[in-house]
Symmetry: C2
Subunit: 339 residues, 2 copies
């Protein structure tokens, strides 16, 4: 049985692995440094649908299908799907996955959703409650801009602290068993609110949550940053990543050598004009489920911490003068050195 | 360890109990037939806040506090809170619970959220991953009307199929151990979409999901409706409840003697002018966590199925011509006859 170690970390006792993963992305993302790693890219960001929201739903149904196909699985082989997204009432997930016939647990962790769904899939699988679980999430630049900021047709100028919502999706299938990618422990994140109110500077709002979860994990497990090849955050981007490193330095923890961020990896900052980097649930989902998973499989990465971060606000809460609480959930993943 | 029985049901193997519960409600609900059972009622639906959304967040922080106090627990005794609500980006939950310092997993199951959070809390507790989990949800008439339909100031006429969103919240604390209220099994619901498009007839959109989950549970466990004192749905209201009974009769299952619905229980249909009954995450949350829990504790109810239902749509999906998918998760609860 799984058991809690320290304050918020749970160690899995069974052999729990990622048996399949898929990451897909839109046109702009396909032109970035990771373009070659995605399982599918789309020249048309509408994916032949009539609205951005339907296009994002299509991202979820496509990525789930690809992840299942890559493992040679049918949907009936999967006991539960955990999915969520940024759209109001999580409609990308519910409409994207409504027809697959797999029991569904909707999740909302904003851009931490990939880590949250992987964390819960791992715990449910480890407990024996299910044999196999799928974790899915997505985001879409155009549906997110319309909902959170301004319709893209408005052509509003973006401040330099703003991040670019990734059009993309990711899925992993987690099961009891052994693969070249094993999940070892997970840390449940707390909500952190340092009273940052600038909805165009999400990295700053989320960095304290990432710092809190990483410190907690290292304390709970009595490990150091040097014990890991990579400490990967979700979508802090350039500004949030710098803040995270500084916040940890104040606690005498230096992750500057191990740290990277999916929001920095996915776009070419010089060429692609994305200001502070990529963001959205689909940012770390598409990067982790394609590029990072391939690095683990080929043993270029052997021991990583994946801490996705979410900003738990809405346009309504910002309009009402509220600050932006952040959260970060962590998953510890190893390449299987026994194989 | 928990194990799957049949298609979608998971039997808990440990002794998992509800050690505390709290249900609170607004002014209109306090005047209904269950008014005396709520732990707290509020004459002012703004709860001394400045907006409806902040009032709903206050419902969540209040109900969590009351549930912890009733068990004599501090927040640090609780390992994780699972919470969700109807508002965009689930802000009632994140803002309501941001300061309690308990690891947080945001859930979105629309009005099935109370059952979904109880289901996951039970599985996480049974697995040993956590010792104690809290499940919380809420809804508020005014924040829901503004977001899903029209601002209340508009005074729009409500069709007779419409339901009245409950101002209320509920919380349970689930732990390993024995109390007078034990959780035995849970059923993970699938998304059902019978292509109903009328956003003013949610009961009809959700009834197929409730029927599917109840049939699955009875098949998975080889039991009959007569084996239970009560088969309680979340908020189908009058129209959805009738449809549910008819859908099950078509499968030769008669639950008419055992069935009741929180949307029927919470208001007096004749006096309170709520048309098709109550709805919202807070409907079954406030009813289950107060009135029903008290019936179980006093052994007036000994063996019940609680199947909350959710309509997985958003105003955007309805505007784009989409149908309304439904989902229903089920929790099987017994009074402890050994005590």
């Amino acid at each position: 049985m799984a058991h809690k170690i320290g304050k918020q970390t749970i160690r899995l006792d069974g052999e729990i692995c990622i048996c399949s993963s898929a990451g897909i992305a839109g046109h702009k993302e396909s032109e970035g440094p990771l373009g070659q790693y995605f399982d599918e890219v789309y020249a048309d960001d509408l994916l032949e649908e009539t609205t951005w929201e339907k296009a994002e739903s299509r991202l979820q149904s496509n990525v789930a299908r690809i992840a299942a196909e890559k493992a040679g699985l049918h949907y009936e082989d999967i006991d539960v799907v955990l999915a969520g997204d940024l759209l109001n009432q999580c409609i990308s997930s519910t409409f994207g996955l409504r027809s697959i016939g797999v029991p569904f647990l909707g999740q909302y962790g904003a851009c931490s959703t990939m880590a949250q769904t992987m964390l819960l899939s791992s715990l449910l699988t480890d407990s024996g409650a299910v044999h196999r679980a799928m974790a899915v999430t997505s985001s879409h630049f155009c549906s997110a801009e319309r909902q959170f900021r301004l319709p893209i047709e408005y052509g509003g100028q973006r401040p330099l602290t703003a991040q670019w919502t990734v059009t993309g999706a990711g899925a992993v299938i987690i099961e009891q068993g052994i693969s070249d990618c094993m999940i070892k422990d997970v840390t449940l994140g707390k909500i952190n609110d340092l009273k940052i109110k600038d909805a165009n500077n999400m990295g700053a709002a989320m960095a304290p949550a990432a710092a809190d979860t990483i410190i907690t994990y290292l304390n709970d497990t009595h490990t150091k940053p040097e014990d890991y090849d990579l400490i990967l955050t979700g979508d802090l981007g350039y500004i949030g990543s710098e803040l995270l490193i500084r916040l940890l330095q104040m606690e005498d923890i230096d992750i500057s050598k191990q740290h990277n961020d999916c929001g920095k990896l996915i776009f070419d900052r010089e060429v692609q004009d994305v200001h502070a980097g990529g963001s959205g649930c689909g940012c770390c989902a598409s990067v982790f489920c394609s590029y990072i998973m391939q690095q683990i499989k080929s043993r270029k990465l052997k021991n990583i911490l994946f801490a996705a971060t979410g900003a738990l606000m809405s346009p309504t809460s910002s309009q009402q003068g509220e600050s932006i609480p952040g959260i970060s959930h962590l998953v510890h993943i190893c390449s299987n050195t026994q194989q």
